[in-house]
Symmetry: C2
Subunit: 470 residues, 2 copies
């Protein structure tokens, strides 16, 4: 085919994959979505991405970007399109210690950003289970979240500048390194979270923060979410906002963890209703340096807060991490979430956000309504509770598309009634198109369609994602 | 005229101003820009804004929003358009203490938000000299900055949700209260900073933060900017990022202040090259509660850092605020900037952003180049140094449009060469259209034009602002 020939001429045959060579890219890592790309191309730099997009435009063929392929929503699937893998664009162009930023290409894996920051005494605060595979381009395209959003914000909040290849192949250079720049519309944020439907992100300038000198980490047992939230408030007050993570694992999660990953152990002999992983961190030498008794002041502070709450009966047990090894073990139990959840089928996985004080009400209501819909349905939840962000997965008793969509509708319904969002941090992709059609403000959908038509008039950039058919 | 009649029918005659009644709105507060609106209307609520925009659309007349009229860039000027004043839309719809947010209409003055937050033990961290007049709508439309951006970010970073009346009069409801919501494109940030050219912001959900329990404030004298920046770094490290303001007043500023506002006094007998106003704040009881000697720990910390720097010769003098009254006096000297600068003519005022370590180089280079261009030209600078944001005002020797534009070009040139932006926090309006045409990436300008055409196909929303003619 003429387009393939043109792509080979532009990139070299080694970087234009077809047939069986595309297997790794043509399906998502869970095996939930499968596509049939025309070809998978692996450009070496921004100019080659631009060339590919121009060739695809000349042939009227869709273009779909893919980076680490760790997405959960089918955002990179294509049938008949050219899949642009950013994996070879893996250069860290610069790490600037004084300016606290890193300039990196879309194919850089997050752990490499973590390492590059650490080498300069800094920290790149995007942190989630898939960090060893997820790449910067995909993280930006989905406005990914993770465990540290409470302190540092989502990907959007960490991005200073962006480079994007537009639908016509032109390169939009927004690679500013400034913290203030009001020169016209905020185009950067338009492309972040657009999942490749408005252009392909090829590079970015990302903020770094001072590396924590000490962490205070604990796993805590409580009877209820309102009780547990007192801990968040007290630690935030006592530290002036230094809580980095506040993760919630309900009884169902702990029970599943015990079965699926017995090697990870459980922190408490009896599984509590509510297990919380809390972590605070400080960059202040005085808060991080052990005192004469060997106690790190920040850890002592957490210990005091926990002791007070135990005494008041607000929590029922707590374990402090006394070493980096213990801290890692606590995180391993939380980060097993994808592994122990996503293997189970049939499943309806959701990614909702709620006001913090509505999370308990959400769970109570949604479980009652789902039990009425499908008696025997099971569920598993894990949550970035500090953000009000729940990954609630329902396991219906039958693998029927209609039943699964009704389950999704019930979740959406309850979320909408509580002022929440059906989409928090995983993106929309294919999996939430029905939710977008049902729940998104129709005026907002119209504006999105107008923006899409303006920037991609031929509808060739990752078509069929994010915006439901009109 | 038919449109006036229709507006009167919709809003009542009392809220459709024409002729001399428009005087207050038809010019900016500096008297630098003058317009000739067809009428000034004062809608009571969002539905009335929508009605006005629909009527203007039916008559093919432009619509220009205005709120506090404290802008510096001519962003609200119109000749022949309907000016929509948001001043009657001054309701604070809700203050939610636990969720730390306020829901307010576009006509709410910032000091009312400060007061409403304070009543709940919270703080609304947008803070600048015009806070007693500036209204939320204008602040959002220009993505305003101010003195606390270093700690809390610009307006954009503080906005959770937005309500916008679109060019066709429909209401776009993006009034979410969540910290995570990835349901499609980020439309909110598209309207923030768009200066009314894509729609009229009528209400917003804004973040609040815990109210500081104590401040540590000092005025510091130094010989050079690199020396002064050591203070910022040391205090950020010692406090873990609790510096809220780091303001720079060079010798020229202090000299002008002495002449124009002798009542405010000067902190040092001899005017130093560099005067810095630094302020840190804490919400932590332990850092805010006076010790046995009556010393607030945070203040003691600043004192220690300053003493070390004095000893090392990095600063030459320092005065700590020992009372709220002393703190206010220090801020009064900084906040007189607009008053003591903007009265002087002929003037070219700029609002540039630079990497922090390039600010000194900028000043040296730009002053040399301007002296070559216009011998005898004077200047005055004041800066949010912690953000790299300088308000550099040049006073050319002749009031000639061409000379003033050449002065602006020189500033742009030097800024561009140092990786900065010609527009930091005041907006573009009319005053920076030439700069946009000369300096903004042409691809970015094309994308802006495409977005503008998509959302305002008839070009009636604040026409002629932000985007230069193509």
């Amino acid at each position: 085919m003429a387009l393939i020939d043109d792509l080979v001429a532009a990139l070299g045959a080694a970087h234009v994959l077809t047939g069986a060579d595309m297997a790794r890219h043509a399906r998502d890592w869970m095996g939930k979505y499968r596509g049939a790309p025309l070809a998978v191309v692996r450009p070496a730099d921004t100019a080659e991405v631009s060339a590919v997009v121009k060739l695809a435009a000349a042939h009227g063929v869709p273009v779909v970007p893919i980076s680490g392929n760790t997405g959960l929503v089918g955002g990179t699937m294509t049938t008949g399109g050219v899949m642009v893998s950013l994996e070879r664009m893996n250069r860290i162009r610069a790490v600037k210690r004084d300016a606290r930023l890193v300039v990196a290409e879309a194919g850089v894996i997050l752990t490499r950003l973590h390492d590059a920051a650490e080498a300069e005494g800094l920290y790149f605060p995007l942190w989630f289970g898939a960090r060893g595979s997820a790449m910067l381009g995909g993280v930006l395209s989905t406005n990914a979240g993770g465990s540290n959003v409470l302190r540092y914000g989502s990907t959007r909040a960490l991005c200073l500048g962006l480079e994007v290849v537009l639908a016509d192949g032109r390169v939009l250079d927004l690679m500013g390194e400034l913290h203030k720049d009001n020169s016209g519309y905020d185009l950067k944020n338009l492309f972040i979270g657009a999942e490749g439907t408005l252009g392909i992100i090829t590079a970015a300038v990302m903020k770094l923060v001072p590396a924590p000198r000490a962490h205070a980490t604990a796993t805590v047992a409580a009877r209820s979410l309102p009780d547990a939230l007192v801990l968040l408030n007290r630690m935030q007050e006592a530290t002036g906002g230094r809580v980095e993570a506040f993760e919630f694992m309900p009884r169902t999660y702990s029970e599943r963890l015990r079965v699926a990953r017995p090697d990870l152990g459980l922190p408490f002999d009896d599984i509590p209703e509510v297990t919380i992983l809390i972590e605070a961190a400080t960059t202040v030498p005085a808060e991080a340096t052990p005192d004469a008794a060997g106690e790190v002041p920040l850890v002592g502070l957490l210990e005091t807060v926990l002791a007070d709450m135990l005494e008041a009966g607000l929590i029922t047990d707590a374990v402090l991490a006394r070493s980096e090894q213990q801290r890692r073990a606590m995180w391993a139990r939380r980060e097993a979430a994808a592994e122990i959840t996503l293997g189970l089928t049939p499943a309806v996985d959701t990614d909702v956000c709620l006001p913090l004080d509505r999370v308990e009400g959400f769970l109570t209501t949604v479980l009652a309504r789902l039990e009425a819909l499908d008696p025997g349905l099971k569920s598993l939840t894990v949550a970035h509770l500090g953000d009000g962000n729940l990954h609630f997965t329902a396991f219906p008793t039958r693998d029927e598309a209609e039943l699964k969509d009704r389950v999704m509708e019930v979740v959406e319904d309850v979320v909408a009634g509580l002022g929440g969002s059906f989409s928090a941090e995983h993106g929309v992709g294919l999996s939430k198109l029905n939710s977008m059609a049902r729940r998104k403000n129709p005026v907002a959908l119209d504006v999105m369609r107008a923006v899409k038509a303006a920037l991609d008039p031929e509808g060739r950039m990752n078509p069929g994602k994010v915006i439901p058919a009109g």
